[in-house]
Amino acid sequence: MAEPATSRTISVDVNGEQIEYDVPARRLLVHFIRDDLGLTGTHIGCDTGNCGACTVHVNGEAVKSCMLLAVQADGATIATVEGLAAEGELTALQQSFNEHHALQCGYCTPGMLMSATALLARNPHPSEDDVRYAIQGNICRCTGYVNIVEAVVGTGGQA
């Protein structure tokens, strides 16, 4: 019987850049993004898929990147927080986070932004309840979510 493969070359589009990479078969997508690609804006806050700090977009959907193996993302289009303000100009949502003081330590922020960006893409004018529902998979320990919710609602229609 053939030895099982321990690594594989994957091809992904990350923030608009096409990347081919030989990754260990067991490497989590989040570790691939952080350690192999050096995109350290995507964070890790737990080891159980609860906290959402690692949220990225995979083919346009908000996904917790600690819940996927890198090899499962083969062929996918991935967007991380670094891709939001690609030209250095903050998105309306990023600006709104600043204006509403929606972040303190900033550790959950990339995941929050990715979840909220996905929400605004499918629902440009979310209600407060819509926002709370959309970010319920993202834990913040600093803000009590008050200003995060206001920031997302306040972005309505501009993202």
């Binding site: 804006g41 995507t42 927080v81 972040l103 303190q104 900033g106 913040c140 320990r141 600093c142 803000t143």
Partner: protein
């Protein structure tokens, strides 16, 4: 969200202080450009994984690392035996018996809590390090387990043989004359037992560090997230048998701290040893499950045999209590928690007679560390429980009894029975404000409406204090031999060659917005925009802008941190004015600093020097300056507040400097079928004196409230009888999610502190007001269903359901003796 503000009072002229300017930190953080310790990479670094005990209490028979070392890509291992050879046990702050405890960086011969590190391995990748850790074979021999503080007190099983007792510290604090006060009272209310549970703030970023060792200089650099490096170094350097100058702490962005990143010295010492042994940088990122299991819980505390004296009119004369604190397996930052509570001895109340018989014990649970509201929160919860239980038993109104017993505005500054000085505030006015925010007048109508839907309805109040800036001299009330007192913090401000204003801080921010508030203060003093002020990110020992107690803890940035910034900025300002006066040939008093210029007040427009000119003259073009005129435009300032000495006989003194106050009110509905508690209305009023940045202050109130709501309803580190933690990660340890949080209304008052440099009081910890008011609200709601007494600080549905089933079980804990 509602914000109500009373008359603002500014100590500085109108300027940037007091404005909610958006934070400077945010631009990098919203783009994923923050630098957290786990983002730092070094060539050839090894990833460290700890092997941890699956048992709560066991002897270590053997550790075999040979299979791990055979694995390709493994750089090396370390065990407790090596730690015992190369390091000394950490310094203990207690007198005997706790002072005899030997606490090493790794378990030596015995494990005392589940998750305790027994060995560590470094390897080329994170995955490999875990594989290697699995190959390390540890043989244990289980020992009897202590998970209950009262059982621990019996000393039938001893955790630390060197100590010979499970007691870390015990002592009696006796102020006023509580026996007479109880004898003369019209009623004495007795409460047998109250329990403040174990939880922690669980910052979203776990602990960790990347440690480099420089063989040539014998110096370690720690790229880390320690929130109190000044004191961390005091622990680590002697253990490593080196000088404090050999430890360089570097922090950049930190993903929350809340006190939980103060006791990282054991793991950091292991990393230092491995970096030196392996001759390569080593990196450790704590796993979430490890953080919950074995890093930093908040202090668990029992309050036993409480007796409260109450006069017929509701005036309380004092109380006595036995406090039994459970600090887990090792004291670490303890026994400081045995005294920190005394900063708020009478809570918000005018009680003059108080006796606290305090004992702290070890158990086979995770060590504790400071946790938002550290030690005062537990005690303040007791004071609020006393108020509500007394009100209930004597049929007094919870609002009236508070107002009757609060320290009154006209008594400020008010000296407590143990010598602390409440600097300012109007507690009754704040209570009125919070009641207005939750529409107190409609409460009974809402109660009826909720009852019509089958819901139990309750209103609760939580009055709390956030005492700011530790006087470390209070440690001598626990151990007179300790050589600590006072406090300090440093900052430096300089004007650089092209006119750049550069500030370095000793503080170690973890989300509090220090870069922004510092820039606001400096901008006002130097006469420029906050955008022109570059506040360097984080802490670096090599900046030389730190002091012995540097860090962000104990709600002290507003006093010591900004006090240092203000001091340094004023020194630079003075020199800028002198220099401009010399250049512009004008008297110094004619010079003003404004809009990035030094100019002659009301002078011609050309009589103005941009900051760039001043910076360039001193730094690069100074030949014409006379030899007796030598400004540097570069100053370090240490803010060292005056405390005076504590009295170790009477156990009195100024244990802290400022007292921010918060009054919270919660309205809850309880489903009597399930015991589920729903917070339907919530308000918090904060008075922290001058608010440097109101938006940041409000953000701290939101965060502290969320922590408190989580703690009051869900968050609980639960152990089974074998000492296994049942809530070891975010699956079982439920922190509030966005859908769990009620709408929060906030209000603010400003009673400037007469002692603080900017009139601003530290306020980030918040004092657990949400725990107090939710316990209060649940008890109010249960009045209509048997009248149970809320006896525990955590009330998840199952506990509330039990109280509904058998209210008498809790009521049996309380009795009243009346004249």
């Amino acid at each position: 969200m509602t914000t109500t503000v009373t008359e603002p009072a500014k100590t500085l002229e109108k300027g940037f202080v007091g404005q909610s300017i958006p934070r400077k930190e945010d631009r990098r953080l919203v783009q994923g450009q923050g630098t957290f310790f786990d983002d730092v990479r070094r060539h050839g670094m090894g990833y460290v994984h700890f092997v941890r005990s699956p048992y709560a209490h066991a002897k270590i028979i053997s550790i075999d690392v040979s299979k791990a070392l055979e694995l390709d890509g493994v750089y090396g291992t370390i065990t407790g035996d090596e730690v015992a050879i190369h390091t000394d046990p950490f310094f203990e702050m207690s007198v005997e018996p706790g002072g005899n405890i030997k606490d090493y960086a790794l378990a030596v011969g015995r494990v005392r809590h589940m998750g305790e590190p027994v060995a560590a391995v470094a390897a080329a990748t994170r995955e490999l390090a875990r594989d290697a850790a699995d190959l390390i074979e540890v043989e244990y021999d289980e020992l009897p387990v202590l998970v209950d503080a009262a059982e621990s007190l019996r000393n039938e099983v001893i955790l630390h043989d060197e100590a010979g007792s499970n007691v870390v510290w015990s002592g009696v604090f006796d102020w006023g004359d509580v026996d007479t006060a109880l004898a003369e009272a019209d009623h004495v209310v007795k409460i047998d037992k109250l329990h403040f549970h174990r939880f922690s703030s669980t910052p979203l970023e776990c602990a960790g560090a990347l440690v480099e060792y420089d063989k040539g200089t014998s110096e370690w650099t720690l790229h880390c997230n320690h929130q109190m490096p000044g004191v961390g170094a005091i622990w680590m350097a002697p253990a490593l048998r080196t000088g404090i100058d050999k430890l360089r702490f570097v922090t950049q962005d930190i993903g929350g701290g809340f006190g939980n990143k103060i006791c990282l010295h054991p793991q950091y010492v292991v990393l230092c040893l491995m970096a030196r042994k392996l001759g390569r940088p080593v990196q450790w990122t704590e796993w979430r499950t490890d953080q919950h299991t074995a890093n930093a819980h908040g202090n668990e505390r029992w309050f036993l045999d409480v007796e409260v004296g109450v006069m017929a009119d509701g005036t309380m004369t004092g109380f006595k209590v036995k406090a039994l604190d459970d600090c887990g397996a090792f004291p670490r930052y303890e026994p400081l928690g045995c005294i920190i509570w005394a900063q708020v001895t009478p809570g918000l109340y005018g009680w003059r007679n108080i006796r606290v018989d305090f004992t702290q014990v070890c158990t086979n649970k995770s060590p504790v560390s400071p946790n938002r509201g550290y030690s005062r929160m537990q005690h303040l919860w007791l004071t609020e429980r006393i108020i509500d239980i007394v009100a209930k038993e004597l049929d007094l109104d919870p609002v009236d009894i508070r107002k009757r017993n609060y320290v009154q505005a006209e008594q400020m500054p008010y000296e407590t029975p143990n010598g602390c000085v409440y600097d300012s505030g109007d507690y009754s006015a704040a209570l009125d404000m919070v009641l207005e925010l939750i529409d107190y007048g409609s409460i009974e109508a809402r109660r009826e409406e909720a009852a019509s839907r089958g819901k139990l309805f309750g209103l609760g109040i939580g009055s709390t204090l956030d005492s700011g800036t530790n006087n470390f001299g209070q440690s001598t009330l626990l151990n007179p031999d300790l050589q600590f007192s006072g406090n300090n913090e440093a900052a430096s401000v300089k004007l650089d060659i092209f006119g750049e204003v550069v500030v370095t801080l000793g503080t170690v921010p973890q989300g509090q917005g220090h870069e922004t508030t510092t820039a606001q203060v400096v901008a006002d003093i130097l006469g420029c925009s906050p955008d022109q002020v570059n506040v360097r990110r984080g802490h670096d020992t090599w900046f030389n802008s730190h002091a012995g107690f540097s860090g962000t803890y104990a709600s002290q940035f507003a006093f010591t941190g900004l006090g240092a910034v203000k001091g340094a900025a004023e020194l630079v300002r003075g020199e800028m004015i002198q220099l401009a006066a010399a250049v512009l040939q004008a008297p110094p008093e004619a010079i003003e600093l404004s809009e990035g210029f030094a100019r002659i007040k009301d002078g011609p427009p050309e009589a103005a020097l941009p900051f760039m000119a001043l910076g360039a003259i001193i730094n690069a073009n100074n030949a014409f300056l006379p030899p007796d005129f030598n400004p540097t435009l570069n100053h370090r300032y240490v803010c060292r507040p005056y405390f005076g000495m504590v009295d170790t006989e009477k156990k009195t003194g100024k244990l802290t400097l400022t007292y921010a106050m918060q009054i919270h009110a919660a309205v809850v509905e309880i489903d009597p079928e399930t015991g589920e508690v729903d917070v339907v209305d919530y308000a918090a009023v904060d008075d922290c004196g001058v608010r440097i940045n109101p938006q940041i202050v409000e953000g701290q109130v939101h965060g502290a409230t969320a922590h408190a709501i989580g703690a009051a309803l869900h968050e609980d580190f639960v152990y089974d009888e074998e000492g296994t933690l049942l809530t070891a990660n975010f699956y079982d340890y439920h922190v509030p999610h966005a859908m769990d949080m009620p709408p929060l209304k906030t209000g603010a008052m400003e009673s400037p502190s007469p002692v603080a440099p900017l009139g601003a009081k530290g306020m980030g910890e918040g004092g657990g007001g949400g725990i107090h008011c939710i316990c209060s609200a649940i008890q109010d709601a249960l009045r209509a269903a048997g009248g149970a007494i809320v006896y525990d600080s955590c009330n998840p549905a199952h506990r509330v359901w039990s109280m509904l089933q058998d209210p008498q079980a809790t009521r049996a804990n309380v009795s009243v003796a009346s004249k």
